[in-house]
Amino acid sequence: MGELESFRNEVRDWLKASVPESLYGRPLTMMAREEPEAADLQADRKRYLERMVERGYTAPTWPKQYGGGGLTPPQAKVLQEELGRLRVPPALMGMGLTMIGPTLLVHGNDEQKEKYLPKIVTGEHRWCQGFSEPNAGSDLASLRTSAKLDDSGERYVINGQKIWTSGAQYSNWIFMLVRTDETTKHQGITFILLPMDTPGIEVKPIRLISGNSPFCEVFFTDVVADVKDVVGGVNQGWTVAKTLLNFERSGMGGGGPQRRPGATTGGGLVALAKEAVGERDGRIADTRTRDRLASLQLDELAYSLTLKRSAQTRKAGGAPGPEISMFKLYQSELGQRRDELAMALRGTDGLAVDENEVGPARAWLSAKATTIYGGSSEIQRNIIAKRVLKLPIN
């Protein structure tokens, strides 16, 4: 038996012993509407998290010294597969694990890694992202929220406004970009961390067209931050941000088709189509619908093979490069096509909305954001044109 196989057996046994059975087959609840859960289920979730944390399995590939699992990428994949087999939700999710943690591993100093990573792993710190501003969307580097060093030279005073801060209302820490030099654009940006309970921070949820409010505006009035919490050096924030954005896009595009509440999955579409237009000889009765679905499935197949090929080609351990833009672009547009098709197949039934549930109409509306946030499709195309195709700049 190979090493990996014995690791698999070990993990399998451990999971069986450690994951409360009540969590088997539980769907994700992140991003879905908050609904009260039974107290015993909550307790089981907590127990599950504690056990995963003990073994470093909430951040399986991070070094053990920061509370990670110290697993190799193939081992981490085994862990993920075994969790998938039990159909249990991840014990912990969020931007700490997927974005700021990996970025600190690249750009953080030892002190920062020691201070922050272990608290991400346990879920104590819940992070949100302060990047976009009302006039700095696609053109992120035009951001204006200012950080001025006070007389002591040890503190920044921050003033300004952020927008599209995902989950700000549930977070206790924020990583953000601030302007520390007004005389230059990209070279005047600094990446800094601070607690959300710092005086002067005000959070206001934004209601979206879907009716949900996953994003917030965050206002900063004379907010004081510690210079020790600058990551990657003063005026070096753009470099740090680019690393982080690639981790973000890789999360958006790298994970294969994502489950969104209310969205119709691939197999569900076939059933929906057969129901909507009928069957003939076991096939969708109408060529038009069949073609639309086939062309979507073909795209999904080609996309997932390309993800796989890219993973095999990419050098192990490296941060994702600009080609990740292609995945972000493709995955978001595929998802929207799937939702459009699902809406079309549901006909007038799909138009009904119910205040209390996340139906297909809401899922369709929510998905419209996927080609905008994390760098719009237009921005991704610009990035690929410039950095991958090396096309000239005007």
Partner: protein, 379 residues
Amino acid sequence: MALTLNGEQQLLRDSARNFVSTHAPVSHLRSLRDRNDDRGYSPVLWEQMVELGWAGIAIPESYGGAGLGLLELGLVMEECGRTLAPTPLLSTVLLAGNAVLEAGSEAQKSALLPAVCEGNKVMALAFEERSRFAPYQVACKAEARGTGFRLSGRKTFVLDGHIADTLVVTARTQGEVGDRDGISLFLVDPKQAGVKIERTTTLDSRNAAQCSFEAVDVPGDALLGELHQGADVLDRVLDRATVCLSAEMLGLVSQTYDVTLDYLKTRVQFDARIGSFQALQHRAVDMFCELELCKSLVLEALTAADEGRDDATMLASAVKARLTDASRWITRQAVQLHGGIGMTDEHDIGLYLKRGAATEQTLGDSAYHLDRFASLRGF
């Protein structure tokens, strides 16, 4: 076959535009939505529209209307589309009202149409039973019983059904589900025993009801038009309503385009107005061209209907297929081009996206109408 408006028509359009932009801007729809208004439109405003003659534009003078054409009604619908102004024009005038006008006896017409013109009656046409437009798929039955009929069955997506004073219901009096023959139309009082109406809210903040009829007895004179021949009436009514709905969609899509073009001209990113970026310019150009084509088709389809031309049915399907695709493309693009702000409920563009999505499905989607267009062109 003029594709331009005459002076009176221009005047009517300008006055409609002026009225809706003053009295029924998008904020009007928004306030109806936010207070969960049960009717889905404002009776006060509707009264004013009725005073402007909108309810009776295309109804003959003998029944209290203005005796003008579908073109004129279409112009009003287009302007309502521009601000998403909710009215019962589609349900009451274009669907149920036209069914009475097309098929009704003198008595039926005299009883109902003047009330429609005066804005005193909301009507609804209950004809769909499936989630995809299929007007001959009628399983709802009407059995002769004495001098009257007994109705049983279910209807779905009945626009304004929950507030209708009178329903026009399609029911099968002969043949099998799917047959064109054997469908008959009946006037039904929704307050009658056995009638159950359940409102659903649609994502464009309008209403469509689920109706069920359990052994509902109606008198013989509730029959609208000839027995078994309801499909003829239905076809004419649906064609005309489809063309006017397309006119409304033209208004909706035109406004979406205008707002987006304006945003492209003002929003600054990368130290430039984003409308200076060539990829966005070309997209805007393609939308502009598409709208020009849509305008021509809407005018032609309205004119053909008014002139009773042979190609009116073909044009009705042509225009609905086209506007549906244009709406799908342009409203989605508009949200994308607005970026984050377009995703917020605070911005109007999302309301256009939602109303667009609803009209795309209403009275047949583009696949249905493109297929019908091909069929009417002999292939």
